[in-house]
């Protein structure tokens, strides 16, 4: 029996809203970026709260949340940049599972000290899988940004299950440290530069998106060039003018700038959420 799909109607799109899962693996050699949730920890939390596996597709929004109408009953959970979830004028907290009745309208109050927010739905958003993943990416999936008026399919819950989960966790201390490993071209840095990379304070600039985050406080300029080499989310590139760029989930797969650092897995999520101007230091993973 084919279950007909319920749908989420997008009443307001929010900013740079898209569907993401853990990403598209196995196609780096074809030049296809991994994509996936910018803050993987928050996304996994939202998924677990509605009983999904951590790779279920969910809605990611940036700074400005979307407004959604659900056509059939389900459970949702919101995490990341959220203070309150408003369902038909009732307020709920974030990081808790919320029952959604047929036709319910969901809006969110953003926290504004983070960037990315997540809305999970029980069973996951059922947009088409392309090359093994539902993560939206221009040129790979038909859609790459949620627009007002579109619908997003999901499976409604049929029998009334009870979900009453919530997570309490210590707020990420607005990050003083971003944990890193040495990158493949770390040795292109002089001894002094190798010391100052962890001694200097950096912050994120306004030049940031799903591809990368440019840092404020230029490092030294240089003239090194390398043959184009593979890149990963979390790779820190050192451009000739001395700018440092932390590559994020949609980063291109190959690049010619020295790769001086590589962020630890959890540090990628942390820097994704770091507000503009907040100071941090790089710290070695011991």
């Amino acid at each position: 029996m084919v279950k007909s799909l319920a749908e989420i109607v997008v009443k307001e799109s929010g900013l740079s809203t898209s569907i993401q899962d853990l990403g598209r693996f196995g196609y780096l050699s074809e030049g296809i970026p991994i994509s996936g949730c910018m803050d993987r920890l928050a996304a996994e939390r939202a998924n677990l709260l509605v009983g999904n596996s951590n790779d279920a597709a969910l809605i990611e929004w940036t700074v400005l949340p979307p407004k959604l109408i659900f056509s059939a009953p389900t459970y949702i959970a919101c995490s990341g940049n959220t203070i309150n979830v408003i369902v038909n004028n009732f307020e709920f907290g974030c990081d808790t599972s919320i029952y959604i009745s047929s036709g319910a309208e969901v809006s969110l109050r953003p926290a504004q000290n983070e960037i990315y927010g997540y809305i999970s739905v029980r069973g996951g958003v059922q947009t088409p899988k392309v090359l093994g993943s539902r993560s939206w990416f221009s040129g790979i999936t038909d859609q790459f940004m949620v627009k007002k008026g579109i619908t997003l399919p999901y499976h409604a819950i049929t029998n009334k299950i009870q979900l009453n989960s919530a997570i309490k966790f210590k707020l990420r201390s607005v990050s003083s440290f971003i944990k890193v490993y040495k990158g493949p071209e770390f040795n292109l840095l002089s001894i002094e530069q190798q010391k100052s990379i962890t001694a200097l304070a950096f912050s994120t600039s306004q030049l940031r998106d799903r591809m990368g985050v440019q840092l404020v406080n230029d490092f030294d300029p240089h003239t090194h060039s390398i043959l184009s080499s593979p890149l990963l989310p979390g790779t820190v590139q050192w451009t000739p003018s001395g700018k440092l760029i932390v590559l994020m989930r949609n980063a291109q797969t190959i690049g010619g700038y020295p790769r001086i650092l590589q962020l630890a897995v959890e540090a990628i999520s942390a820097i994704a959420q770091l507000p503009q101007g907040a100071l941090f230091h790089f710290k070695w993973v011991v």
Binding site: G26, Y27, S228, S229, P230, Q252, I254
Partner: protein, 206 residues
């Protein structure tokens, strides 16, 4: 290639494997120990002794070097102090090697460009390079599989689709393969552009 061998030998532990010109990236599914890495290193070292050169497939891609597509063709010819015909001849007579893919999904870094065609990237990149543009940048040439910003000099356009995610194999041409560009007229281009499956315009010649 080492990459294929590593993927085969360690397929259970590895999520993805990608290469640049002279480097290899291995992504593991789980955290690995120093010891695991030493195993791969030893594995690679053991392969060095049998340096069997593998020959990939040879492909031919049609290109229309017409002013209406190759918007930088005239300027480039003027800078290089050569006739447009000579430029086209130099570009289409060479067999190129696919060193790696990246930048955009399906974008191939092609090596083997004639020295006389080397040219620095544009100071100001074009915001929208049309899909399927054939271009030269630095010591390389390539085809833009999708519309994108780009700083390379555009000399023509292919009617062939090089990258199609709806196909089981998104791009026919693999890393390590070689390829040639075959000049076609504007009339040929218009004819080929009407073909249903434009991935078939890429022909295997060896």
């Amino acid at each position: 290639m080492v990459k294929a061998l590593i993927l085969e030998a360690l397929s259970e532990q590895i999520q993805d494997c990608a290469n640049g010109y002279n480097s290899l990236l291995v992504i593991y599914k789980k955290t690995v120990s120093e010891n695991d890495l030493k195993l791969v290193e030893a594995f690679c070292a053991s392969r060095k002794r049998n340096t069997k050169i593998t020959h990939g497939n040879i492909w031919e891609v049609p290109v229309c070097y017409h002013d209406s597509f190759g918007i930088d063709l005239q300027t480039l010819a003027t800078v290089k102090k050569m006739e447009v015909e000579t430029l086209v001849q130099l570009h289409s007579s060479v067999t190129y090697t696919v060193f790696c893919k990246g930048f955009l999904p399906g974008f191939m870094y092609l090596g083997g460009l004639d020295k006389r065609l080397f040219i620095d990237r544009k100071a100001v990149p074009l915001l929208k390079v049309p899909q399927n543009s054939v271009a030269i940048g630095g010591k390389q040439t390539g085809v833009y599989p999708t519309e994108s910003p780009g700083g390379w000099h555009i000399i023509g356009r292919t009617p062939a689709i090089l990258f199609d995610v709806s196909k089981k194999i998104a791009s026919k041409i693999s890393m390590g393969d070689t390829m040639k560009f075959k000049p076609i007229t504007l009339t040929d281009y218009i004819k080929m552009d009407r073909v249903n499956d434009k991935t078939k315009l890429i022909t295997q010649i060896g």
